[in-house]
Symmetry: D3
Subunit: 210 residues, 6 copies
């Protein structure tokens, strides 16, 4: 092995010949013209706000009833009344999606967390490992419970719930942590089934220029 | 250890002093009178059909917006148009819930599968271990993929999807298997968070008398 | 995907074309006439008591020496003198077999527990997940230790044993919990090797008519 | 950290203050005089043959009925008629016990395998990792299946059994591999419950002097 | 739970009260003046090149002999002659560190990969999940083997090595993939022991402004 | 199955037809004459001391730069100044290598521990399962932390470190436990990649004749 000279490793390229997969998902996406008007309106509104159409919208538009049910539940959980702030809810999504190795969700919700939380460093830390992130005790408690919810065979003991209550979380807060964590475990798996591809815009969103 | 006589073990009782937990969930349930009319209508209809109110309805009624979003998505997945029969979809729910050790979901959906599938033995087998159940190749293929979706870090390869397509499943079928499996992983975790208790009626539903 | 109409899912059958596997095990069973008289006597006695011959008897009769050793040890553990009641011992068997996903053992011993314990609901709960079953503290302590014994690499610490002693369990009780849990881990694996099929009678045994 | 000089590490002792635990098990052992004559005879015979009494005999003598059932089943499996040689069966015991991290069983059966197999190097390799041991194809196939039996939730598929049959193993051989592997999973767990201590004689048994 | 109004969730802050941990590691760092000149030279050179001192240098400088051994081995692996390009080697580091949830290594080497590989999107994808990243076949084969090396109990079979050889990798290439993957598993664990904190500069390095 | 007579199992051989693999590794070893003089000197010195050349030297000599970096770091960790004795450090290596199922490292470092620690029984116990070995509290605390370091995703909490400090370990001691444990996780994986074969001499080294 040592006798033949090893190649000069000064050439830097890697991943030669790879192509960026630009399909929203492996199941494709409908023509915009074929999308029902109510869904088209949601997509157009998001397009106007973000400047691009997140692929999850196009992928789900394949199945209009699923699109409506998913987006409605998503909005109830992420934007509805709750003792958790919107940024705290995004942090749950990013932490759970990272544990589930979900490329689309870590990328898209990581971007959302950078924007909403106004702390890109902590958002990036949570996207890698919430356990070693610079977290305040309240956010650490939230993400610790979300991570337990995310585990196979989760069933909370009375003692665990009492501990959260003592930590200042109401029953509704506990419900919301569990609901956001578990719903995105569902979403992560759908992304894995359809090979949902993150839009390239997400990677830099919410970052200040270096 | 062997010198003192061991107790006579002929006494048969076990679990003495245990009480059946009859609360729908650890987070309680609202007074029926406090439930919004549209939700009350759903509950009354189910009550009339089954003869009892499944605890999931009472537990979710605590949060009306969550109730509506959950039940709507549930119905789209379980009763909406699909290449999978309703019994096949219930089989996915039971198999996934068994893998996730969810007491409420195995009990309630096990009952549903006994009723819908008209084969209580296979329904009970799936509730224990779908892998060793007496399954036809199509149902085995469905549950095998559902089980993969249920695993942590799920992301289907192109090869896996091609295999399912070759087995006669359309893209929409694959979507539906994944969606039902993943949605009930979400539901299993909510049941675990709220300690959702199965109604006693579920245990015998769909069984012929011995 | 959304353009072609999805099939009407109102058809309810599932698992079409599947056949109930009626062989006791994949290794078959001997002719009754070929079974040695002492083993035949055990089988006839059980047949008279239950009304059918559990498949484990027929499968093990293939190897008479193994039959005798297995049944003898089984009886020492399950019917011999012990500080644990017979129903408590069956509860251990069901809990461990459920953790090991053993179709035969959950089905057959689940039936035995329903009969012996006179509480079909708790028996079914233990068959799904003993952790969320309605258990009295003593039975919960028994099943918690049985579950630890069942884990790969089990070795109890002195602290763990002391805790059980403080909870009122004698050294012989601890021995018996471990022995029943571990012996049925052995039995579960033999069932998995021989694809032992539960007799259909087990599924409804010990259930009151709905 | 770097400012204070680090201790001189040339002193070689380690584990100072530890005592060799010489009790057969944490549950003790009966007085020899208190042991029933039939069990005493077995112990005396083994003592005469080996020159010491393996602790498993003393530990199990606490419970005479368990002693008899365990030793009888052990002998049926390890010394009864089988298509597997006795050394092959010991190799299964060592491989499974190593996977289960069982100190007593790896030590005692490792010694037995060195003696029976007449190849102390391969015996030691199997005690560390059968996968990287210098094995002939037949023994590798035996240990691969034994290892699968040892896994949680084991249930062999028809395809797996067919592969073993094509490899020259009879149904009885497959039964024996499974039975030996699973029985010692049971034995490993009993050793873990009782903290069974290996006799010091085992460590050097079957080794030629260096 | 539903009776009291839920807080208005429009407030966006999260993680209030958290402080950025600015210590290089929990074991601190030496005064620059106390660092031996040869190590100081390495640190100064890196400082000049990057504009900041990566915390790994300061943390390791606590133990000069360890610093020298670690940095030397690092440079042999990452900059020495090899059939793998430097960017491919960084990709291995990022993929393995992500599997090991190492905050420091994913952050610092993720930045290095963005710079060296000149494709920030693929670098970010690998930092989340190399399996679903847009990889060319060669890089996918490299990372697949690196991931196997990273698993507990890794031991490559002859068949696995033959497959890599058929894929165009030399014995030295296979060595290098394994060495880089395994060395950074070591480095990840050291970072976890010392709570190594990523410098804030790493998060934006190698990103074009949004 | 029971009808045909089973073979007489009195024949004792096992593993017939297996050959001892005598290559240092699957990647071979260089001719002694082709080894650079500085490496040749290290090998000759070890040869003189032990009476044989450990295969790790020959295998690594294939890549002289890797040989030098590996052996230097090894010596810093295992022979450099430290609050841990050399035998304690070898005990960490054996415990971690056993958890990682590394045939070469358990064999070679198990021998080293028998020699250095002057207690072959405890060395053999640690090679099987440090948890059930006869350990003094200090060595148990060392190996418990080493085992945590060895786990996937290791990141020590402040509480865990404080506990070690209270137990009398300095920051440098904690560093050294982590460094030795993690470095040999790296070494274990290299051994698994190259199929490093233990020299037969290791198996009996440090054993007194039986």
């Amino acid at each position: 092995m040592g006798t033949s000279p090893l190649p000069n490793s000064s050439r830097t390229p890697f991943n030669e010949g790879a192509a960026r997969n630009s399909a929203p998902s492996r199941f494709g996406a409908p023509e915009l013209a074929a999308i029902p008007p109510d869904i088209r309106a949601v997509i157009d509104e998001t397009h106007a706000k973000l400047g691009f159409i997140p692929n999850v919208f196009l992928a789900y538009a394949q199945r209009p009833d699923h699109f409506r049910a998913f987006m409605h539940y998503h909005d109830v959980l992420m934007q509805g009344p709750s003792g958790l702030t919107r940024a705290e809810r995004e942090a749950i999504v990013v932490a759970v999606s990272a544990e589930n190795d979900c490329l689309y969700c870590v990328t898209a919700h990581g971007a959302a967390l950078r924007v909403l939380g106004k702390d890109a460093v902590v958002a990036d830390q949570i996207a890698i490992n919430w356990r070693t992130a610079d977290l305040a005790p309240r956010l650490r408690a939230i993400l610790a419970f979300a991570s337990e919810v995310n585990a196979r065979g989760f069933a909370a003991s009375d003692e665990r719930i009492a501990l959260l209550r003592q930590g200042g979380f109401s029953a509704a807060d506990i419900w919301d942590i569990a609901a956001v964590a578990a719903f995105f475990g569902f979403s992560n798996r759908m992304a894995g089934a359809m090979d949902l591809r993150p839009n390239p815009e997400f990677y830099s969103l919410g970052r200040t220029s270096p």
